[in-house]
Amino acid sequence: MSTPAAQHTPDGAVAARARGLTKAYGSGETAVIALDSVDVDIARGRFTAVMGPSGSGKSTLMHCLAGLDTVSAGQVWLGGTEITGLRDRELTRLRRDRVGFMFQSFNLIPTLTAAENITLPMDIAGRRPDERWLKQVIDTLGLRDRLRHRPAQLSGGQQQRVACARALASRPELIFADEPTGNLDSRAGREVLGFLRGAVDDLGQTVVMVTHDPGAAAHSDVVLFLADGHIEDAMERPTAEAVLEHMHLSTGGHPQTPWFDAVRGRLGDDDTDLEE
């Protein structure tokens, strides 16, 4: 397997890197390989999209790169730090200080105001936020007059903007966005994608976004296509049409999977249990 993203790094700097990254769930006969010896470099200062059908391992890849999940084999670096083999406390600190997160939904702590949510990772760390940077982020995302609101008082788009601000606030080395527009209408979704784009272009941040939406992927600098635990391809300067066409080809001409993916996401048919 090649490392397609590496050759596109403009200045050669890498924000995150994986070598031989393998993730298996279960063991023995019933083991499911989610990632199969993946090598990937995430270029610093760029907007990388990760696409793939459901079960292709795209979310697992992101979780492993972000230190949320343990790997079965291989190595992962964040900047110059190897994160494979770190203990929970070190991983927690790493996520807190060096990574920003945006999830599809339930991004904010309901008891905290927008402002408190934005500075939460730094508050947890006991660090004072950089006021000028914070002001810039808040103004860029247009949240100035929403700071004292609780999440319940914000629209879905506004909530994702707060999440975006939180991810940016501590000026992390890497921002991971997991389907950030999945729960938004198209206008609010475009807005959030615009902010992520701006974070890369204007603020010099590094963003990795997992998505199934070709339109969302088109906002990125490079798209990595995952299938069956492998990186199959990469596409520079993608357009929605080019991404869609690529998906047609790789799924035998029927772009069904993303649609299924979306339906799955809404029904929430995971084997979750309220009672545990």
């Binding site: 949320l68 927690t92 339930f106 702590i109 905290l112 947890i124 995971d270 979750t272």
Partner: protein, 864 residues
């Protein structure tokens, strides 16, 4: 529907287990107390029934405890035996001598009697088939100076045949040699028994061979007890209760005798029963909150599921019934386990009684039909009542809830109804308490207090959720500054669902309110008694029996003969029946003092003085009591002493004391010792007030007094500080009970907090996952949950203590009407309870916090 109910019950068994524990605890206390008292009653009924003679003739007993008060034993002529024996149908008659006012001391001046309050009984040795003991070694006592001892006492005090004992009886002190050991063939009720030869028992124990304490008769075959009683009654006079000479006799058949003996034991059993039922009550009261909360949370959690059931066509009644069925299942399981636990508790109590010398056989445990019935009524009733409101709420879930992505139901609902109900009930309760504080009559104040306590408790429980926001804002106000974002989140989490926080804290609140009130009352009592002792007691020393019963007259002689003793003022007590000018008859007890009273006790007089009061044929009385019964100085009141001796006493002084009622005596009556001796010559001293002679320092006198009193282990020398300590210790018994109740309330309250936190953790799984993802450490997460728990617990404690303080102050107002005027608030206790409640919070958070911190971050984020 039943299937769905059963599934749901089993699915939530973990959560229900905590509620079940509350049911189990309360049922266990109810069942345990019933089984215990049934067992003891049954055992003693059998003991008394098997040992009572067919017919017993006794002096008429106006007051069963008169001997314990005055030390005087009521007797009848021993010659009565011969008249009884001649009655047709009497097989055998005996003149019994049995007294409880003697103290038996071994050769090393140690008391042979039990130290637990059970009596030492010295009696004549009659061998009958009804005797509770059998001679097992040695021989029967013959003549003076010989005695039998019961085997249990001999074993406990390491006494053997041949040992010498000193018997301090009312007439005189004498020595006996143990010549035999008698063993109980029935249950040993814990008393120490000393048997003397019947030929000498009357003279040794009663001062005259012509006296007896009762005559017992056995019937010949074919004559019933009732028939024999009638015949003896006829022979002695005009039937039962016939008047002959100076005394009046009571005749009792074996059954009646057993019943009256059992009745006197009943009072002791009732104390244990009420204490146990008190525990059951607290467990129930606190348990109800736990159950209500559990069901509310289960239903909130299952809103979607219930909505789906409704959407699929289940009607409201079915949903409600389903929830109530679940509650009944819980009650059934809880009651059954509680019944089992109750049997264990009764066993433990029986063991405990054995440790106190009362040999109840655990194998003879009696479980009446009432026990399981009460257990199930209590268990099922409580769960049903507690689950009713949540069940109604469940039925109100709309079918749309199945589709809505709503957060947990019940969070945002306004608390208006609670505000109105809580406000109104609270206002009425506060008014009742204010009325209690302002009342001038004890009965009125006490009933207002009860009403006020009940209403303010209800109001606080109802309005609790409304208080959550303001109180926790203040309580947790420093959290963000102290603990950063973790503190902020825990404070906000506690505020998140005021209903739930309020209900969780209510469990702790109820317990602590009771404790707060009782501790204020008991501290005030202690302070009041201290003040009275300081004010009234002038004596250097007080010589008194450890359990306040009278003691032999030799003690007075020994004290008076001790060098350095100046003044000795004896006090005797006597039950007294007083007929007042307003026509009322009052059964009370009067004190009698020797001369010199003013030097040892400071009495405030409204009219007259000590000299007048203690003069021959005179009487002193509380001024307030006198006023309300139309008594004035110079009034002549007819009185009756034990033994039926009547006389008229003239009121010569009226007192104006803080307290009028001590030890159950009404009216504050007292008279001269000489007057009492005329009518109750064989009464014993119950207190000696002792002053050092001029030139002798009190601290020098004390060791001399103690040395002089060494042969009398039952009496103690106390100075004023010791006396205060004694009073404090007695009040402390009440406090220990309160602390035990507190412990129980805390155990259940902890279960409630654990319950709430565990559910909150589950509900906030995604939030916790998110927090962990963006960098909240495990330890920080645990601290967040711990702080939330602490804030809930401290909230409950503060609410409870505030309520308890108000109650306590009102209780003190009621006590003040009885002369206990000091108000003391035990601040150290209160601060300790608040700190303790924080610890309770930490303990309750242990498991939920551990569980939260162990959550897999990814699984938590994906949790729905």
């Amino acid at each position: 529907m039943l299937k769905a109910t059963l599934r749901s019950f089993l699915a939530h068994k973990g959560r229900l287990a905590l509620s079940a524990l509350a049911v189990i605890l309360s049922v266990a206390f109810v069942a345990g107390s019933l089984i215990f008292s049934d067992t003891v009653t049954h055992t003693f009924d059998r003991l008394f029934a098997s040992t009572a003679a067919d017919v017993t003739v006794q002096p008429q007993q106006r007051d069963l405890r008169s001997a314990r008060v005055s030390g005087s034993v009521q007797t009848l002529p021993a010659a009565l035996r011969d008249r009884v024996a001649k009655v047709d149908g009497v097989a055998a008659a005996r003149a019994e001598v049995s007294v409880q006012n003697a103290v038996v001391v071994d050769s090393r001046n140690r008391s042979v009697g039990p130290t637990t309050g059970a009596p030492t009984i010295a009696m004549a040795w009659h061998v009958t088939s009804r005797s509770p003991v059998r001679l097992t070694s040695g021989r029967a006592p013959r003549g003076a100076g010989q005695a039998l001892l019961d085997a249990d006492t001999a074993g406990k005090k390491h006494l053997r045949i041949g040992d010498t004992l000193t018997v301090q009886a009312q007439p005189d002190t004498f020595r006996v040699r143990v010549v035999g050991i008698a063993t109980f063939t029935t249950t040993n009720p814990g008393a120490a028994l000393l048997f003397l030869d019947p030929a000498v028992a009357g003279r040794e124990l009663l001062g005259s061979a012509a006296k007896a304490t009762s005559i017992t008769a056995d019937a010949v075959k074919g004559v019933s007890d009732a028939e024999l009683k009638r015949r003896i009654g006829a022979a002695l006079g005009s039937g039962a209760g016939a008047r002959t000479g100076t005394g009046t006799y009571d005749l009792k058949t074996a059954n009646e005798q057993a019943k009256s003996a059992a009745a006197s034991l009943g009072a002791f059993l009732d104390v244990i029963k009420y204490v146990m039922l008190g525990f059951a009550g607290v467990a129930l009261l606190v348990g109800v909150f736990l159950i209500v909360n559990t069901f509310s949370m289960l239903i909130a959690q299952r809103t979607r599921e219930l909505g789906l059931l409704r959407a699929l066509g289940a009607d409201r009644r079915q949903v409600r019934r389903s929830v109530l069925t679940e509650a009944l299942l819980l009650g059934l399981v809880g009651s059954t386990l509680g019944l089992g636990a109750g049997i264990g508790l009764a066993l433990a109590l029986i063991r405990l009684m054995t440790a106190f010398g009362m040999n109840l056989k655990a194998t003879e445990m009696v479980i009446g039909w009432g026990t399981p019935v009460s257990a199930y009524v209590v268990g099922l009733g409580v769960t049903f009542v507690a689950a009713y409101l949540p069940a109604r709420r469940a039925a109100a879930v709309s079918p749309m809830a199945a589709l809505a992505d709503a957060e947990v139901a019940g969070v945002g609902k306004p608390l208006k109804v609670r505000a109105v109900v809580g406000g109104v009930v609270g206002a009425v309760g506060a008014a009742a308490l204010a009325g209690c504080a302002a009342a001038t009559r004890t009965a009125q104040a006490a009933s207002l207090l009860g009403l006020g306590v009940a209403l303010t408790l209800i109001a606080t429980v109802v309005a609790g959720p409304l208080l959550v926001r303001p109180v926790i804002r203040v309580l947790g106000g420093a959290f963000p500054a102290l603990f950063g974002p973790v503190g902020r989140m825990s404070q906000r989490n506690a505020l998140r669902n005021p209903r739930r926080t309020g209900a969780t804290a209510a469990a702790l609140m109820v317990g602590l309110a009771l404790v707060g009130g009782m501790s204020v009352a008991s501290a005030s009592m202690s302070a009041s008694f201290d003040r009275q002792i300081d004010k009234n007691l002038g004596a250097d020393f007080i010589v008194q029996n450890t359990n306040f019963i009278p003691f032999t007259k030799e003690v007075r002689d020994k004290v008076a003969a001790t060098p350095g003793v100046g003044l000795v003022v004896p006090q005797r007590l006597s039950p007294l029946d007083v007929r007042l000018p307003d026509g009322r008859r009052v059964r009370t007890s009067a004190a009698a003092y020797g001369p010199g009273l003013d030097d040892v006790v400071h009495i405030a007089y409204a009219r007259g003085g000590s000299a007048a009061a203690l003069a021959d044929g005179r009487l002193a009385m509380d001024a307030g009591f006198a006023r309300s019964h139309g008594v004035r100085v110079g009034s002549v009141v007819p009185v009756e002493f034990p033994g039926g001796r009547h006389t008229d006493l003239t009121v010569a002084a009226l007192t104006d004391q803080d307290t009028t009622d001590g030890f159950g005596a009404q009216g504050g009556l007292y008279l001269g010792l000489a007057t009492l001796e005329k009518y109750l010559p064989d009464a014993q001293d119950s207190v000696l007030y002792v002053n050092a002679s001029p030139g002798t320092r009190a601290q020098d006198l004390r060791p001399r007094l103690e040395r002089a009193l060494r042969p009398f282990p039952q009496v103690q020398v106390r100075n004023q500080d010791d006396y205060k300590q004694l009073v404090h210790d007695q009040i402390a018994v009440l406090l220990y009970l309160v602390y035990a109740l507190l412990g129980l309330a805390i155990v259940i309250a902890v279960l409630g907090v654990v319950n709430t936190l565990a559910l909150s953790v589950v509900e906030r799984t995604r939030e916790i996952g998110l927090l962990r993802a963006i960098g909240l450490g495990r330890r920080q997460l645990r601290r967040m949950i711990r702080l939330e728990s602490v804030v809930i617990a401290v909230f409950g404690a503060i609410l409870g203590l505030a309520l308890g303080l108000v109650w306590g102050v009102c209780m003190q107002r009621v006590l003040a009407l009885r002369g206990l005027t000091a108000l003391a608030i035990p601040w150290t206790t209160i601060v300790a309870v608040v700190l303790g409640s924080a610890v309770v919070g930490v303990v309750a958070a242990l498991l939920p916090a551990l569980r939260a911190s162990r959550m897999n971050v990814l699984a938590a984020i994906a949790h729905e």
